[in-house]
């Protein structure tokens, strides 16, 4: 089964000056929610634009569902729903007019287009704003309309560029839930630099740095890559009691406990020791103390650590590249 997206040595150089995408080989599995992660300027947006045919590759090739991407690859774009960062929409139109225009651009007949537009407006919560011109919309409303626009043709592949940029917490939650829901029936590529989003919704990840794809794999692969045997236990109680607990925990075999990070205890479990047994022993000590356990975090943020480690490794091996 061919992947939803395949790139081979994809390269984009702007004006012989800036290498935006550098010899990228990428396979995005069908049906996955693929997080394209990277710092600003890593080449994420350029990659999406190359897939859409908005830009031409300097070298290499990109395919979507086995079809070659390019400026006139209309059939490829008919399979893609694109949401740009902070979408710029025609302010003189109303939402229905805009979606109707996009439906016509996708050659959808009226009997399919009209009901789908009303269903989409309802789904993104813009049914109450159909009388307003788009120029009066807030950033969040524009993003929601952009989401609806990307779904008008019901494409099997969604390319969403920074879908949560500039959104308030509730709109962000809505967007992430929607991506999770859409991921049940479509392939979704989410380009972002927000690790929390990736962590919550993606099952596959690609990490870009300075135009290069420095890691691709499943989220499990990522976490496995930086499997950290450490836990942060958030505690409620006096600092003296936490320090005392740390001393006791250090006596447990294979456990190193540190209590210098506020009302929390950092527990590191040495390799070769059972994580569950060591953690259970520490929890018993807490139970016996005057402290109460508020929360347990595994490895602080595994994705963040993995991501940062990947970037550090990539920079450290610059010459080897």
């Amino acid at each position: 089964m061919e992947p939803a997206i395949r790139t081979e040595h994809l390269t984009k150089i702007y004006g012989q000056r800036l290498i935006a995408v550098n010899d990228m080989n990428l396979d995005v599995p069908r049906g996955s929610i693929f997080g394209l992660l990277g710092p600003n300027g890593a080449g994420k947006t350029t990659t999406l634009r190359l897939l859409l045919g908005l830009q031409r590759p300097t070298a290499g090739r990109a395919e979507v569902f086995g079809r070659l991407c390019g400026p006139n690859a209309v059939a490829v774009r008919s399979m893609i729903g694109y949401l740009p960062t902070n979408p710029q929409l025609p302010g003189n139109l109303r939402p229905i007019e805009y979606l109707d225009l996009l439906g016509k651009l996708s050659r959808l007949p009226g009997e399919i287009r009209k009901p789908r537009i009303s269903a989409l407006l309802r789904a993104v919560g813009l049914l109450g704003a159909t009388g307003q011109r788009i120029q009066t919309f807030s950033t969040g409303m524009c993003t929601r309309l952009g989401i609806a626009a990307s779904l008008v043709a019901d494409p099997p592949l969604l390319l969403w560029d920074e879908p949560t940029a500039g959104l308030d917490p509730s709109a962000r939650r809505f967007t992430l839930d929607l991506i999770r829901e859409l991921g049940k029936t479509k392939t979704v590529v989410v380009a972002t630099h927000i690790l929390g989003d990736i962590d919550q919704i993606c099952d596959h990840l690609g990490v870009m740095h300075e135009g290069r794809m420095i890691f691709t794999g499943s989220m499990q692969d990522v976490k496995q890559r930086l499997r950290r045997n450490d836990f942060t236990l958030e505690l409620d109680g006096a600092a003296e009691d936490i320090r005392h607990l740390a001393q006791q925990a250090n006596n447990v075999e294979g456990v190193e406990a540190v209590a210098d990070t506020g009302p929390a205890l950092l527990v590191r479990i040495a390799d070769g020791h059972s994580r569950s047994r060591a953690l259970a022993d520490v929890l018993k000590l807490i139970d016996a103390s005057r402290l109460s356990l508020q929360d347990v975090h595994s490895g602080q943020n595994a994705t963040e650590n993995a991501y940062l480690q990947l970037l550090q490794e990539d920079e450290a091996h610059g010459f080897q590249r």
């Binding site: 079809r67 003189n92 139109l93 050659r107």
Partner: protein
């Protein structure tokens, strides 16, 4: 869930099945309508419509009792060929595919299943339709008024064929100007720069062509030749100096008779029509409609083709 079973590329096959002409043309028609609507809502277009209507009204009013039909109609067409509407038409042609905001909006459209050619042709034809629409809405009623009203000037030999062809020639020049602006906007990507370049290149070229009386290529020469063309008849579309001389003789005789009867009856004679040198140069007997059509038509096609080529190859 079996991930291979989901996300099948159904829309691609749906696209391949769109064989009906109406369905195939749907994006083009949608873009054309959208662009026409956006243009109509722009202040530039509305201002231009008001200004061109006002200028036409003033020209007709000021020369009502002075210019003969052909001269007056030629003077009405002059602003479209030379100044000031040249500038407006070029600005309208330049804007669709240049400028950061236009490019961002174009991104939103070109990320859909629309080919660049469809997009470019739709935006170009929207501008051509709009420019020609405004030009005809204002000039046609004015010409009808000039032709049908009883004015205190001698009659003229303006023909329907002459009017239609003159309107067509000016329309062709306007189409060419839109296309030229379109090409420059696509090449330079900065609207202001494109307009400045066009103004600084086009006017000197127009003057040079005018000096050599190349009416087929120079709007200035064309505007002087229009009054000749207005008097052409269908059966003699080519220049006919003998015919023109006959018409002038008839006009002279008519003027003399009119003067004679006015003296006899004691009524004030009809005022003699002014004969401005610019519009009645009389040097355009060899004016060829075919050459004009080719002279502007071929560059128009070339400009659209080059703009399409440039737009196709460039990154957005």
């Amino acid at each position: 869930m079996d991930s291979s079973a989901k996300a099948s590329p159904a829309p691609a096959s749906a696209y391949a099945e769109t064989r009906k002409l109406g369905t195939r043309m749907m994006p083009y028609v949608a873009l054309l309508r959208h662009d026409l609507r956006s243009l109509w809502q722009s202040w530039l277009v509305r201002l231009w419509l008001g200004a061109t209507a006002l200028l036409t009204f003033m020209l007709v009013g000021a020369n009502w009792a002075q210019f003969r039909d052909g001269t007056l109609i030629a003077s009405l067409l002059f602003p479209y060929l030379v100044f000031p509407w040249f500038f407006v038409v070029v600005v309208l042609g330049v804007s669709p595919v240049s400028g950061s905001r236009s490019e961002t909006l174009a991104d939103g459209i070109l990320s859909r299943p629309v080919s660049r050619c469809e997009y470019l042709l739709a935006t170009w034809s929207a501008r051509v339709v709009l420019v020609l629409g405004i030009y005809l809405i204002v000039t046609v009623p004015s010409i009808i008024l000039v032709m049908l009203a009883k004015r205190p000037v001698p009659g003229d030999t303006v023909t329907i064929y002459g009017i239609v062809t003159a309107l067509g020639v000016v329309g062709l020049v306007l189409t060419f100007l839109v296309s030229l602006g379109f090409l420059m906007g696509t090449l330079l990507r900065k609207p202001l720069l494109a307009v400045v370049v066009l103004v600084f290149i086009w006017y000197p070229i127009g003057l040079i062509l005018s000096v050599f009386s190349l009416e087929e290529f120079s709007p200035i020469s064309l505007s002087r030749a229009i009054s000749t063309q207005l008097r052409q008849s269908w059966r003699e579309p080519g220049a006919n100096p003998q015919g023109k001389a006959d018409a002038e003789d008839i006009n002279g005789v008519t003027d003399q008779m009119s003067h004679f009867f006015s003296v006899l009856s004691g009524v004030q004679p009809r005022p003699k029509a002014a004969n401005p040198d610019f519009f009645e140069g009389g040097k355009f007997e060899d004016f060829s409609l075919l050459r004009v059509t080719l002279g502007y038509g071929l560059p128009t096609l070339a400009a659209v083709f080059l703009a399409s080529l440039c737009f196709y190859w460039r990154d957005l």
